[in-house]
């Protein structure tokens, strides 16, 4: 039995975290040094993601059943979900720190532009409703796959993907170019730099979420999910809802107050 466990553990080892970490390091180096290095970093990240998709699709990371005492105090929570929540906790710290930094410079500054004069409230509200709807389609996808309805899961995932793309299209295709055209650039002062850093970081998270939803769609269309095997839908859903929550805080901060 011990030999079998050791064999299983050996099979689960993966170079993917190393490849992704190296890709991010090369990407960030390229960001400040030389554009071709940045592209090389993106290629390494893409290769890492491809390998991750491949290994995930083959269920390489499926966990063996453990004794309850090994899971204390989270007996009712799977390893995958616990790992995801630990990751989300670190994300709360990242976004929380940046939001507090934003509030600090805003309160400390003598003057600050009125939100509605700088940003388009209607576009902000539209994007908020788009993200809320994408969260609804995501949770409905989980609901349907729990019932074993793969067809409706595909529809829901397609809806989530389309809504996420719409959010980014409005943000990066309409809002940002308009702001930059009006002289509100990342170099034009603290109100602009804090806006672009926070909404830019959020947009990166949405883009990552879209890649993850794309992976779910690939698995849904290749018969990867059943009523009893859908842990990826639940966990990527948790990430997607987190990105939604962050926007619920950023929207009033930048558009309303």
């Amino acid at each position: 039995m011990k030999d079998e466990d050791a064999h299983n553990e050996e099979n689960k080892s993966s170079f993917v975290p190393l490849i992704l970490a190296a890709g991010v390091a090369v990407f960030l180096l390229g960001l400040v040094v030389y554009t071709p290095i940045l592209i090389a970093g993106l290629i390494i990240i893409a290769a890492g993601l491809f390998k991750l998709f491949k290994e995930g699709a083959s269920e390489k990371f499926a966990q063996r059943k453990k004794a309850d005492e090994e899971d204390y105090p989270m007996e009712s929570v799977s390893n995958e979900k616990l790992g995801l929540w630990i990751f989300l906790t670190s994300e709360i710290l990242i976004f929380g720190s940046l939001i507090v930094a934003y509030l600090y410079v805003r309160v400390s500054s003598g003057s600050w532009p009125i939100a509605s004069q700088t940003h388009n409230v209607l576009l902000g509200m539209t994007n908020t409703i788009i993200l809320l709807t994408s969260s609804l389609t995501m949770i409905l996808g989980l609901y349907f796959i729990r019932l074993g309805n793969v067809g409706r899961l595909k529809i829901c995932l397609g809806g989530t993907f389309a809504l996420g793309c719409s959010f980014l299209a409005i943000k990066l295709g309409i809002e940002w170019p308009t702001l930059i055209h009006n002289g509100f650039t990342i170099n034009s002062g603290l109100p602009a730099s804090t806006y672009f850093v926070l909404t830019g970081l959020h947009a990166v998270h949405v883009a990552v979420g879209l890649v993850a939803v794309g992976y779910l769609m690939f698995r849904a269309y290749t018969g990867g999910f059943t009523s009893t095997n859908h842990v990826a839908v639940e966990n990527i859903g948790l990430y997607w809802h987190f990105v939604d929550i962050v926007w619920m805080i950023l929207f009033p901060l930048f558009y309303l107050i």
Partner: protein, 89 residues
């Protein structure tokens, strides 16, 4: 497992709350009161998503301690920042 009606109901509530935020912004009143009301609505929306869409309501209090611990840390940071500002003024 929660049903479709609950999920759609929560979504409807969140959309209404979003419209309310925008409406409150243009109501007459002191700036601090408007900021407080908008802040409360935004927090309620975030909590609703975490409880019902992320299923924290059904996963037990132990799992909730993880995000709560991070939020406590952020509140501590915010209080520290506020104290720094008040001491400087």
């Amino acid at each position: 497992m929660p049903g479709i009606k609950l999920y759609v109901g929560i979504w409807l509530g969140l959309v209404i709350a979003t419209v309310m935020e925008v409406v409150v912004r243009s109501l007459p009143g002191t700036a601090s009161l408007i900021v407080l009301v908008i802040g409360l609505i935004a927090s309620a929306k975030a909590i609703a998503i975490a409880l019902y869409y992320q299923h924290l309501r059904y996963d037990g209090i132990r799992l909730s301690t993880l995000p709560l611990a991070a939020i406590v840390g952020i509140v501590f940071l915010a209080v520290s920042a506020a104290m720094t500002i008040s001491m400087g003024m």
